[in-house]
Symmetry: C2
Subunit: 223 residues, 2 copies
């Protein structure tokens, strides 16, 4: 049985205040946090399994697994040798900064270099809440379709990086990567787009190159 932490949503108007508290806490312990967002079943946990396997010799990783219910994801993460805390959101469809702060208080932050916050599977509300993370990464999976930026624009606007998962099925689902790139560019010209398959491992190394560059920048920045 994984450890399960119950958290309650904070007051929305105070989210920025709590996001600043999260950042202060992370900086104090010299740890960085990545907010990973996607639809249900897009492959968040599979990506984390691949990422942990490739980083575990060099980085100490913990994962906050946010879900409405269950602890199946936390168990999968622990099987790959990383610390996992299962967070139950009390029915909330997203993590806010207050919930993130409360979840982080259950970790000995000096023991980690990187925290992944696996947000609740949802393309709408998680985009609205700054959790205090250093990087926002979203996964769009190929079966969802290349038109999703049109319908969920905020998520594509706020993200730093878009991992296009299940890319090995692009022909089956008639998914056009160029069309996706065009739809994203209209909303966010800075987002890095990386096609991957968390199932076959294809492209995952490109994600690791991007992530290692970010870690390098963080280590040599003044903040």
């Amino acid at each position: 049985m994984s450890e399960i932490i119950e958290v309650k949503a904070g007051v929305e108007a105070e989210n920025d205040k709590y996001a600043a508290e999260v950042r202060k806490l992370l900086r104090h312990h010299q740890v960085r946090m990545i907010n990973l967002m996607a639809s249900p079943g897009a492959g968040k946990t599979s990506l984390l399994e691949q990422t942990i396997d490739r980083l575990k010799g060099s980085k100490r990783i913990a994962v906050l697994e946010a879900d409405v219910d269950a602890d199946v994801d936390a168990k999968r993460i622990e099987a790959h040798g990383a610390k996992a805390l299962q967070i139950h959101t009390g029915g909330a469809c997203h993590m806010d900064a207050y919930m993130t702060l409360k979840a982080l208080e259950n970790l000995d932050l000096d023991q980690y270099d990187l925290i992944f916050l696996e947000n609740v599977g949802n393309l709408v509300c998680p985009a609205e809440f700054d959790t205090g993370a250093d990087l926002r990464v979203m996964i769009l999976s190929v079966p969802e379709g290349d038109d999703k930026p049109l319908k969920y624009p905020l998520m594509f606007q706020v993200t730093d990086c878009i991992l296009v998962n299940k890319i090995d099925t692009d022909e089956i689902f008639d998914f056009n990567l160029q069309k996706l790139e065009k739809n994203v560019a209209a909303l966010n010209e800075h987002a890095k787009i990386i096609p991957i398959s968390a199932f076959t491992g294809s492209g995952v190394e490109n994600w690791l190159v991007y992530l290692r560059e970010k870690i390098f920048e963080w280590n040599y920045s003044c903040h």
Copy 2:
């Protein structure tokens, strides 16, 4: 350009009151409404295209297309000869009964037999709101995985019917229908589960059989 209706969320505590108003309105005009819910990209619009094509000789259909943004889905529905109203939810990640009532006020309800409410792509919040619909149908698509009832239990509890879409890809995604059925049965023993492919059309006729049975029951019920 499709007609776009902007609606704002109602007061949550008053949702039941508005759901009753929606039901009264629908009964007055002898029309039935189906609340269709799913993750982004699960195939809601594709299912509606298939459904409209098969029912359009016998039933007059309108679709409320709820999205945070865009009108791509309304255009797809109109191309199949049904009335479509694009509803923009003002950032809300679900439709509530008040929003549904306001959307319905834009339709001449005497002109229709069936209304499909295509909810915002989200497995969490739409499950929490009674919209006044006569039937709740959800789509789970095979690439999302057979473990989703564990993580989004409320959606699987409140639904009358689960359409398992993209069933033609079950081997690629190692999706186990029996495992899904077991996970659903633990939450909801009454839910009808129908595997379909809205892409190939396979199984869609089974959904139509189910829907026609419901329509028959409604026509011969006292309410």
